[in-house]
Point group: C2
Chain length 334, copies 2
Amino acid sequence: MNDSKNISIKDVAKHANVSTATVSHVINGTRFVSEETKRKVHQAMDDLNYRINSVARSLRSRKSHVIAFLAPILASETSNYFFMSVAAGIQSVLKQHQYHLVLSDSHEEEQFESNEIRMLGSQMIDGLIMAPASRELDYERLFGDYPVVYLDRVPNNSYRDFVVVDNKTVSKEAVQMLIGNGHKRIAYISGPHTLTTTEERHAGYLEALSEAGLAADSELISIGEVSLNSGYKITESLLKQQPTAIFVTDNVMAMGVMFYLQEKKISVPEQIAVIAYDEFQWTRITSPPLTVIEQPAFELGVKAAEVMLERIDDPEAPMQEHRLTANLIVRHSS
Amino acid sequence: MNDSKNISIKDVAKHANVSTATVSHVINGTRFVSEETKRKVHQAMDDLNYRINSVARSLRSRKSHVIAFLAPILASETSNYFFMSVAAGIQSVLKQHQYHLVLSDSHEEEQFESNEIRMLGSQMIDGLIMAPASRELDYERLFGDYPVVYLDRVPNNSYRDFVVVDNKTVSKEAVQMLIGNGHKRIAYISGPHTLTTTEERHAGYLEALSEAGLAADSELISIGEVSLNSGYKITESLLKQQPTAIFVTDNVMAMGVMFYLQEKKISVPEQIAVIAYDEFQWTRITSPPLTVIEQPAFELGVKAAEVMLERIDDPEAPMQEHRLTANLIVRHSS
DNA sequence: AGCCTCCACGTAAACGTTTACATAGCTTTA
DNA sequence: TAAAGCTATGTAAACGTTTACGTGGAGGCT
């Protein structure tokens, strides 16, 4: 079944009576080769069942055609699937350019993350797209000699390309809608503010409040761990403050919120209104269907990949900074 | 910021006054080196900010330390997140053994899949774990010279290691429970039977029926595209057949089922009972929470990775076939 | 003292490509 | 017809490791 020997370009060359250079050029179309010679080479490759050794190619050409994506991507109790959609977007453009995608999981944890960056080594990847787990860490000293594009979040003092979501504007818009509907006591539930994203969402919330002349009540703001249970517990304790609406900036925590409200038969939006982050299919089958902020996850990936490819193409080009706008999908929970 | 030159093992050797062999052995711990020399080498590596070139290493050692996972993995309208959990499982064991994971998306489509296998090339990966999109395709002629472990599904005539879920037993168990609760008209909703998994689930359904002396009514069996909308539509038309229970073997289609039932205010389980496949967090926040079949997704990945590592270790060892048992989680929809 | 063993390390080939440089034969030009 | 140019291909170095083999010297043994 398996060819016991490994067929190299040399074997092909010998079998076709040409030089290795010619074979290489036939494979890559990198210089003119007569039709007749091409035919012979292809014939030889077929005969021998030749497969190119991409490792050798990478070594010599100093290009691996691999892009890594480092993010809290893999499924776990506390993960939402936002970054999966991002990965799909990245994949879709890389594929068109014959690039591979390596997914690395950061666990949203600095230690894991640093480790992964190290494992990626130097010549293994041509570029790194990452959603940094920390704002404070000095990533620069971890990186190898490849371009880096930040996605979704940006660490402090970065001079790199980045592609993020305009979280502040859409969060403000969501809260403004709640205010417009007459809500004055709007609770805010979020994961830790260690990320630029959560910061921005918080800022949008605050700005909407203040512009409407509403005071921010710190009793209504609850920061917690990102998990369903955490969302559940926070909702329970927050309700003692008698909010009339909840703005929850994390998808997984939102499940906890809905779990609690449903279990306690608290009717939405009559007794309390809810707006959550992220549009996933499950948000359509709660009762009532949720009003959510839809982040352009796929497009985020697409844009980041495009930026990466351009950066590889021209390392000296000016830095790119993209802020994609998110979308408020109004359903029946608000 | 970036070191303009690429530091190689030669530079380190020169700087430390030793040979490249010694540096290599220090890095890999592959033969004795005196403490003093080790110190010098480490010092030199730090001074020069040396990073190993894993491509060159792979070329020479003929090991890439990369395992690919090929499955319909990335998010899209029709994808469920089952394989993400699997990937997490694979990742967890590979990481412990210093292996990398490359995720490839098959789109559940033979053409894409074949393409991906080709792109993986020959020396790029040390092994391939895959959930084949087809039972019929002759995968053997696509593979390179690496071990392959099938996961979740197995193509016809395969002689490879595989790790799957015992779908038949658990499906039978689920249907038996419905029967035990007095149901006689149990609808069956599923994606296309092109996979061994769906076949097995169907077989379990049928066997439970026949062992209970119930006739299988083909009007109650509906095969359709895997999507929320498809699930919605199928439920709509299936209800005309007056089933008292629904067994839906796909997570995404299950959302469609619940969407329809909720929209039409059909109460579960009073008017109709529901059992669905796959335990995800959203199944806990429907009303009522769903009775589901929990596939050991993470464990599937773990086992597949373990099998792969053993296979790499000993290519001649006897083939391994693992069937993991799934779990019926009884909540309030049945 | 001669020989052997062991210790700690060095030398250089090899992995399979890509690619700068070279070249043989033919055609064109003056 | 000699020089020049073009066409199609060949030669061999280089990419950065790993590793089989070799070696100088210190110490032990007889």
